[in-house]
């Protein structure tokens, strides 16, 4: 376990479980639990991250007109290249009702979120094709709202 790996895990957890609300720019919508294990020589062996009580309803709650959805969706729309967006069938904001444009996240201009995101996934153990599958899964979650509309 090194600091870079821990920092990457925390960054990804923030991206997948945080939203922007009226009260807070980076509000965590889940409970986190970390168990830290070390050996007799006080070497950090492992950390176990648990995410519980994730606010699933926020994914498709169109009543939250003044608050944003999870940060990861805005990250996909703001930072992915056009080619990658085409590959995973990701369109612009107007196509997705659940991804509100009224209250988008405030990204820090000094941070290279795109590089950190892909580096973090690689550090955790994701391969390139697995990262692509993950991105497609995220897009499919956004697309669920279109299926619901057609169902009605």
């Amino acid at each position: 376990m090194n600091e870079e790996l821990i920092s990457s895990i925390l960054f990804l957890i923030d991206l997948f479980t945080s939203t922007r609300t009226l009260e807070c720019k980076n509000s965590t919508k889940a409970s986190r639990s970390i168990s830290i294990y070390y050996d007799k020589n006080v070497n950090l062996i492992s950390m176990k991250f648990d995410i519980i009580f994730l606010d699933h309803s926020r994914l498709k709650n169109s009543n939250l007109r003044e608050e944003s959805n999870f940060l990861i969706f805005y990250f996909l729309l703001d930072f992915l290249s056009e080619n990658l967006k085409k590959e995973i069938d990701l369109n612009d904001f107007e196509d997705y009702i659940w991804i509100k444009t009224e209250l988008t996240p405030q990204w820090n201009s000094h941070k290279d979120y795109k590089r950190k995101f892909f580096n973090s996934l690689t550090l955790i153990g994701f391969e390139q094709n697995e990262i692509l599958v993950l991105l497609k899964m995220l897009v499919s979650i956004i697309l669920l709202e279109k299926f619901e509309k057609e169902k009605k």
């Binding site: 376990m1 090194n2 600091e3 821990i6 920092s7 925390l10 923030d14 945080s18 609300t21 009260e23 807070c24 980076n26 509000s27 965590t28 986190r32 970390i34 168990s35 830290i36 294990y37 070390y38 050996d39 007799k40 020589n41 006080v42 070497n43 950090l44 950390m47």
Partner: protein, 211 residues
């Protein structure tokens, strides 16, 4: 004003002329938005349960009800208690004033024995989590210094927990309202634990356990 002044009601028996008290303002102060202000009692009327007080700040004199008065310590208003257990008087204005003074002095943390209280402000004191601060607490822990001598901080709290793991497993619970700094403290604590791991390898003896 009588020299031998005794109040019949026992709940106000601590009130004597010329002492310093906290006065509850019915409306917040327009400049500071505070609802309590320090004042000196000039005159007490036990029959009507009112008092005349003079504010220490602007020397303004007002009449107020005895129930609006709270005990105040003679502690200097520019100083504060790092551990609330050391306070001599426990009431709402005393505790809030302590927090206010600490915030103005850029002290992010206040402790209450095993509880750590953190203030979230827009102008967060960046030095609180600087590499110099991390190094300070890390060195104190690694060199087996008395960590309680260091000022109240998240890192001191984490070091104390690590010390206690010799006896039993430890837990830290971070709780607070939305936007109060839970994620920030969570992240800083985890990063500190990973950084201290390097120093522990070199200096400490075997300490088994789960944290």
């Amino acid at each position: 004003m009588s020299k031998n002044f005794h109040l019949k009601d026992k709940s106000f028996s601590w009130l004597v002329p010329n002492i310093t008290v906290w006065v509850y303002l019915r409306e917040p102060d327009p400049k500071t938005a505070q609802i309590f202000k320090k004042a000196e009692i000039l005159y007490l009327d036990s029959s009507r349960f009112i008092a005349k007080v003079r504010f220490l700040e602007d020397k303004k004199e007002i009449m107020c009800a005895l129930s609006d008065l709270n005990k105040a310590s003679s502690f200097c208003t520019c100083e504060s208690y790092e551990d609330l257990l050391n306070m001599s008087i426990y009431n709402y204005p005393e505790i809030m004033n302590n927090f206010l003074v600490r915030k103005e002095n850029n002290e992010m943390y206040t402790s209450l024995n095993d509880i750590l209280i953190f203030f979230m402000s827009d102008k967060l004191f960046s030095g609180g989590f600087s590499p110099a601060t991390i190094n300070y607490y890390m060195q104190a822990f690694v060199k087996n210094m008395n960590i309680n001598d260091c000022s109240a901080h998240l890192y001191r709290f984490v070091c104390k927990c690590l010390n206690q793991t010799q006896k039993s497993n430890q837990s830290i619970i971070i709780s607070g309202e939305e936007g109060s700094g839970k994620t920030l403290n969570f992240t800083k604590a985890v990063e500190f634990i990973s950084l201290i791991n390097k120093s522990i390898k070199e200096e400490l003896d075997d300490i088994p356990g789960k944290f």
